[in-house]
Symmetry: C3
C-alpha cells in the first residue's frame, strides 16, 4: 500500500488538468523516481507524457511500484473541489484510490474506483527535429485564438529567425510574424525552414494548462508530429500532435 502526500492540493489539481484536457482515462505509474503517465487521446492523433518527480511530494512512501488506472474526468472533478491551503494524501485501498483533503478544520475523503485502462501507451514518436522555438505561453494562447477565427487548422512555419503562423478560411486569412525579439520568442533555432499544419482544437487543449508566465518549447519537422513541452512546477508535460495532411 502506497501513501503520497502533497502539501498544496491545488498544485496536484493543476497537474491533473494538464492531462485531462487531452485524455479521459489513464494509468499513473508510481515508481521510486516519481509518477508518470503516458496516454493517447481517443482519436489517436495526440499523446501526452507526464512526469512528476518524487521530490514534489512531502511523503512518498511506496513499498513497490504501482499502477493506478483512473477515470481522469472523475479525478479532475474531485480535485476541482480543493479549498485553499489544503494538503492532499493519496493511498491505495481495496482497489480504490483514496484522496484525503486535509484542511485546518476537518477532512474530506473521496474514494475513486481503479479501472483497467483500455490501452496503454509506452513509446513516444521517434522524430529527429530540426527546428526549435521557445515561446512565451500566454502570447501563444492568444495566437491560437487569433487563428481559430479563420479556420480549424493552423500552419506553423519556422525559419532561421522567424516563427510564422497562418490560417485561412471562408471568412478571411491570418498571417502572424514573430521575430526573435526576446519577449514573445525567447530562443529560436532552425537549420532550414520547417513547417506543418495542425488541428487548432487539439493544440488549444495541449497548451491550455501552461501556467501564466511560463514558457513553451516547440519542436518542428516538416510534415512530422509537433512536440510541445512545458513545466508545471516540478512536473514536465510533453505532448505530441500529428500533422494534418491536406489531401
Amino acid at each position: 500500500m502506497f501513501e503520497l502526500r502533497i502539501d498544496n492540493a491545488k498544485y496536484w489539481r493543476d497537474c491533473v488538468e494538464s492531462i485531462v484536457n487531452l485524455v479521459d482515462e489513464g494509468s499513473f505509474n508510481i515508481a521510486k523516481e516519481g509518477i508518470s503517465l503516458k496516454a493517447m487521446d481517443p482519436s489517436g492523433i495526440s499523446m501526452v507524457s507526464f512526469f512528476i518527480p518524487s521530490k514534489a511530494f512531502s511523503k512518498f512512501d511506496i513499498p513497490k511500484n504501482a499502477s493506478v488506472g483512473l477515470n481522469l474526468e472523475n479525478l479532475n472533478k474531485v480535485l476541482s473541489r480543493t479549498r485553499d491551503n489544503e494538503a492532499l494524501v493519496m493511498k491505495d485501498t481495496d482497489n480504490k484510490l483514496l484522496l484525503e483533503f486535509v484542511g485546518k478544520n476537518g477532512k474530506r475523503r473521496y474514494r475513486l474506483p481503479m479501472i483497467d485502462v483500455r490501452k496503454n501507451v509506452e513509446k513516444e514518436p521517434n522524430v529527429e527535429f530540426n527546428a526549435f522555438v521557445d515561446i512565451a505561453g500566454d502570447p501563444l494562447k492568444e495566437i491560437i485564438k487569433d487563428a481559430s477565427l479563420m479556420s480549424s487548422y493552423i500552419t506553423f512555419k519556422e525559419s532561421e529567425n522567424q516563427f510564422f503562423i497562418s490560417a485561412h478560411g471562408d471568412s478571411g486569412e491570418l498571417e502572424e510574424f514573430n521575430e526573435n525579439d526576446g519577449e514573445i520568442i525567447k530562443k529560436i533555432k532552425a537549420e532550414k525552414e520547417e513547417g506543418a499544419v495542425f488541428n487548432l482544437e487539439y493544440l488549444e487543449s495541449i497548451i491550455k494548462a501552461c501556467p501564466i508566465g511560463n514558457q513553451i518549447n516547440i519542436a518542428l519537422k516538416t510534415n512530422e508530429p509537433l512536440k510541445v513541452t512545458y513545466n508545471i512546477g516540478d512536473a514536465t508535460l510533453t505532448y505530441f500532435l500529428a500533422p494534418y495532411m491536406e489531401e
Copy 2:
C-alpha cells in the same frame, strides 16, 4: 389598503429570493406583527416558512390583515431590477400589488396581479428532534457541492461531537468529518446518533440564500424531515425537507 415601506429595497429582494429558490407561488400574510409566508414546493417534499417582523419596515400601515397571493418568480424578476440606494413602497390597489421603487432621481412603479394560490400550507411538520448542529453557512454550501460530484443524495449523520456527511455513486464515494471546532461547527448537541438521506438539489435550494458569514441551524432525527433555519437580517427562514428513503 395597506402601505409598506422598506428603506433598503435590496434587502426585500434577498428575502424573496430565499422563498423563490424553493417555491414559485405563495401568499404573504400581512398582520400587525409582520409578514409571513408558508409554502410547499410543487413536488411536496419540502416547505418554507418565512417571517419578517413589522419593525423591519419604516412604514407598516395596515388597516386590517391582508393576504397577497403572488407569482413569486415574477415578483423576484421585478425585485432583481433594484438599483443601489432605492427604497421600496408596496401597496395593494385594485387586486394588484403596486411596487414603487423610489430612488434619488425619478421612480419606477410595477404592478403585479394578485393570484389565487393553489394550496396554502398552514402547519409545519411535527417532529421531536434529538440532534442539533449550528454550522457556518459558507462551508456547508461547499460540502453540498462536494457531495453533488458523487450523487444526487447526501447522508447527514450526527453524533455527540461530530457532524458527518457522505455521498456515493458510480464515480466514487465521499466522506466528510466535521468536528466541533468552533470554526465550521459552532455548536453540536445529540443525545444519540441520528441520521438520514436527503435530496441534494432541494438542500442546495434551501441554503442558497443564506447570507455570506451567517450561521445555519440544522435539526435532525433518524428518517424524519430535516429542519434548517437561518436569518436574513430581521427575517427568519425555516425549511423542512423530507428524507429520502431508499427502497
Copy 3:
C-alpha cells in the same frame, strides 16, 4: 490603394461594434472628410448611420473615394482579437481589406474578402420631430432592462418636462417617470405630448454600444420613427427605429 492608420485599434473595434449590433453587412464609404456607413437591419425596421471624421486617423491616405463592402460580423470577430496598445493599419489589396495590427512585438495581418452588399441605404427617414430629450446612456440601458421583464415592447412618452416610459404584459405592468432633474434627464424639450411604442430588442441593440458615461439624444414624434444619436469619441452614431403599431 488607400492606407488608413488608427493609433488605438480598440477604438475602431468599439466603432464597428456599434454598427454590427444592428446589421451584419454593410459598405464603408471612404472619402476625404471621413468614413461613413448607412445600413438597414435585415428586417427593415431600423437603420444605422455611422460617420467618423478623417481626423480620428493618424494616417488617412486616399487617392480616390472608395467603397468597402464587408461581412461586418467577420470584421467584428477580427477586431475582437485586438490586444492592448496596438495600432491598426487598413489597406485595400486585391479586392480584400488588409487589417494589420501593429504591436510592440511582431504584427498580425488579417485579410477579409470584400463583398457586394445586398442593398445600400442612401436616405435617412424624413421626420419633423417635435420632442427631444437628452438622457444619460447608462440609466437608459437600465430602463430598457426594466421594461424587458414585462413585455417585448416599450412605450416612450414625452411631455414638456417629463420623459415617461411604460410596458405591460401578462406578468404585470411597469411605469417609470423621469423628471428633468439634470442627472438622468439632461435636457428636455417638447411642444406637446409625443409618444410611440418600440420594439425592445432593437432598442437594446441600438443603445448597447453607447460608451459608459455618455449621453444619448432621443427625438420623438407620435407614431413616427424614433431617432437616437450618440457619440463614440469622434464618431457619430445615428439610428432610426420604426414604431410598433398595434393592430
